[in-house]
């Protein structure tokens, strides 16, 4: 039922994208492909944090795994794009399983610190084994449109198509997962792991599963990135990438798929825009390049302090203020909106239960 609805939505979206891609310039097509890359990566991370309550500051590392897998498979084995789009997430999923297993017992700052370490340490692997990974220069990747489309077909449009396809498939899968029993179980372990364990849920396994799914998304995004930028090098997978993903997920709204879209739009479009504005106002290139970085920081802080539910959450709240509560499913009565953020079961920010000795906040 929901699967059909999601597929229908995906097909409609696909048609819209296809139509748009034909109209847009090659550069815009390229940006569309980039947006697709980040939608997939951010959706995976957003699900990890928003649905299962775990944090990862090292998702850039999983993207790197996917990207290098793609480069190596294409370079040495000449695999076609769809094959690497399947293989890369699989390899990254293995990485996710390893990290997830190691991290299943960690939470909060320990988990964040461990994944942070991952993000910082992994790129040096590529430099350590330059023969295999191409060292600092990296490996190159080339994907061409099939001959059937004609010699003058713009390559970036082809990239936009395959990336959009990959993104839509991923979103459909994630949407179904969210609504499935697995999704509900994730929410349960997010909200109250002790209660969930007492209720018989395999908390550790669910956590690892969340990591696997999330890493697979990142791996796919890495493959898409490799294909769109034609180059895979350690410099593309710095800590800043992991943090940008986090910023996109938080800004868009954790745990929501539309949030991933907002986040991706912001990450792809805003930095270049801001840098352009800065340079046109006379700031040097170096300075202008740092402004988006500082901006990510501001975004993370401001959103967490003022709009913890991000853009999507903010829109949802606005909608609830102004619109009558719509029925959530055909035929069922509308769900009453929660009285406050703390009671919203979908919010990852449930406050700890209020005890009689709750402090009133320091003055």
């Amino acid at each position: 039922m929901t699967l059909l609805r999601h597929l229908a939505a995906a097909i409609v979206a696909g048609a819209v994208i296809w139509a748009a891609s034909v109209q847009l310039s090659p550069f815009r097509d390229f940006q569309m492909a980039q947006i697709a890359v980040y939608v997939v990566a951010i959706a995976g991370l957003s699900f990890l944090i928003g649905l299962s309550g775990q944090i990862s500051l090292g998702h850039g590392a999983f993207m790197a795994v996917g990207a290098y897998t793609t480069a190596l498979l294409m370079m040495h084995l000449n695999w076609p794009w769809w094959a690497v789009f399947l293989a890369s997430p699989a390899v990254a999923a293995v990485g996710g399983a390893v990290v997830g297993l190691a991290a299943a017992r960690l939470h909060g700052p320990y988990l964040a610190g461990a994944t942070l370490m991952l993000a910082v340490a992994l790129p040096s692997l590529a430099v350590q084994f330059p023969g295999v990974f191409g060292g600092d220069q990296g490996l190159s990747v080339n994907v061409f449109p099939p001959a059937g489309l004609g010699a003058n077909f713009p390559p970036t449009r082809w990239l936009a198509w395959i990336c959009a396809l990959a993104a839509l498939v991923t979103l459909v899968i994630l949407a179904n997962l969210a609504r499935s029993r697995v999704g509900r179980n994730w929410r349960a372990i997010r909200d109250d792991p002790v209660a969930a364990a007492l209720a018989g849920l395999p908390v550790g396994r669910l956590r690892v599963l969340a990591f696997i799914v999330s890493a697979a998304c990142a791996g796919l995004a890495g493959a898409m990135l490799a294909v769109t930028t034609s180059l895979v090098s350690p410099g593309s997978f710095t800590l800043s990438l992991s943090i940008a993903l986090l910023a996109g997920a938080v800004l868009g709204g954790l745990g929501t798929l539309t949030g991933a879209l907002w986040g991706a739009l912001v990450i792809v479009l805003v930095p270049t825009y801001v840098t352009d504005v800065a340079t046109s106002h006379g700031f040097s290139g170096g300075v202008a390049a740092n402004i988006p970085i500082a901006a990510y920081g501001v975004v993370l802080i401001v959103v967490m302090l003022i709009f913890p539910q991000g853009i999507q959450g903010g829109l949802r709240r606005l909608a609830k203020q102004f619109l009558p509560t719509p029925p959530t499913h055909l035929g069922s009565p509308g769900r009453r909106p929660p009285a406050s953020e703390a009671e919203d079961p979908d919010s990852p920010y449930r406050r700890p239960p209020v005890s009689e000795h709750q402090e009133e906040g320091t003055s």
Binding site: G113, I291, V299
Partner: protein
């Protein structure tokens, strides 16, 4: 044999820097149960400030003192403005906020000072010391680094144990509710804790930047290793921070010396994961843990 000795002593110097970062993390963790991911970035900023002063006045020590003062102020300001609202919220919020701070501060540093690698002066000479013409692998500066951190750690310990300020800090860290009931202005105390952590972090930045060169993200790897040291020693334990730092510094120096410098951060990752899996509360964990 002398090589081993050299690696051991050489590791002490870096180890003390990790210990300093670990100490500042422990200070904040004990007080607010928050892990300050921006500790390294804060240190970068204060070190840049020191560099500006040094270039302006030509005096290393003036820059040194200004950096420490800047660390105090920076820590206090950050706690009061950005951390205070998330102190009683779920831990995820504080993680995101401090990561945001990390990025913001590094971005600001990049904007003001640019991204190029800058050299930073040392306090003392870096020529190797010898004991009866056997090279020891350390220099006068290394001795200074180790002593400076040790002195600060001891001063901190004295502050905690013997002064009323220290008593307030401890009471607020162990049981903020009881402390408030007794009239302790817990808010101010927490600000002080962050200020002290900022000072120690600034010290770490000053001591390590000659080796790593100074650029906006130069403290990233130092920070994660300091975090690892804190975890090894136990996030609740200042003594553990020092010991953890020393152990890590020495071991990583062996890795770097015998196996190659590229493997250092990977080894650090392995060490961190090993500790987190085998004994997550660290070597010196205090038995009565509050909620983790």
């Amino acid at each position: 044999m002398t090589e081993f000795l050299q690696f051991t002593l050489g590791g002490v110097s870096f180890g003390m820097v990790y210990a300093a970062i670990a100490l500042s993390l422990v200070l904040i963790w004990r007080g607010t149960r928050i892990l300050n991911y921006s500790q390294g970035a804060m240190a970068v900023l204060t070190t840049y400030i020191a560099l500006t002063v040094i270039n302006h006045t030509g005096s290393y020590w003036e820059g040194f003192v200004v950096a420490l003062a800047a660390g105090l102020v920076l820590g206090a300001v950050i706690e009061r403005t950005v951390i205070r609202p998330v102190e009683n919220k779920p831990p995820l919020n504080a993680v995101v906020v401090t990561i945001g701070l990390l990025v913001l501060i590094e971005g600001i540093a990049g904007i003001i000072y640019g991204g190029q690698y800058r050299s930073f002066p040392t306090a003392f000479s870096v020529t190797g010391l010898h004991a009866r013409s056997v090279p020891l692998g350390i220099s006068r500066n290394d001795v200074f680094v180790a002593s400076a951190v040790l002195v600060v750690a001891l001063a901190l310990a004295a502050l905690f144990r013997f002064t009323s300020v220290g008593l307030r800090l401890r009471a607020s860290a162990f049981n903020p509710y009881a402390a408030r009931l007794l009239g302790v202005r817990v808010g101010r105390v927490l600000t002080l804790g962050w200020a002290l952590a900022g000072l120690i972090g600034a010290l770490a930045g000053l001591l390590v930047s000659p080796d790593t060169f100074l650029y906006p993200s130069s403290m990233d790897s130092i920070f994660v290793l300091g975090f690892t040291a804190a975890v090894i020693g136990g996030l609740d334990s200042p003594v553990g921070a020092i010991v953890g730092g020393l152990i890590l510094g020495v071991v990583l120096n062996y890795v770097g010396g015998y196996l190659g410098s590229n493997l250092v951060s990977i080894f650090g990752l392995v060490a961190l994961m090993a500790v987190l899996l085998i004994r997550p509360s660290g070597l010196f964990s205090v038995t009565h843990e509050r909620r983790v």
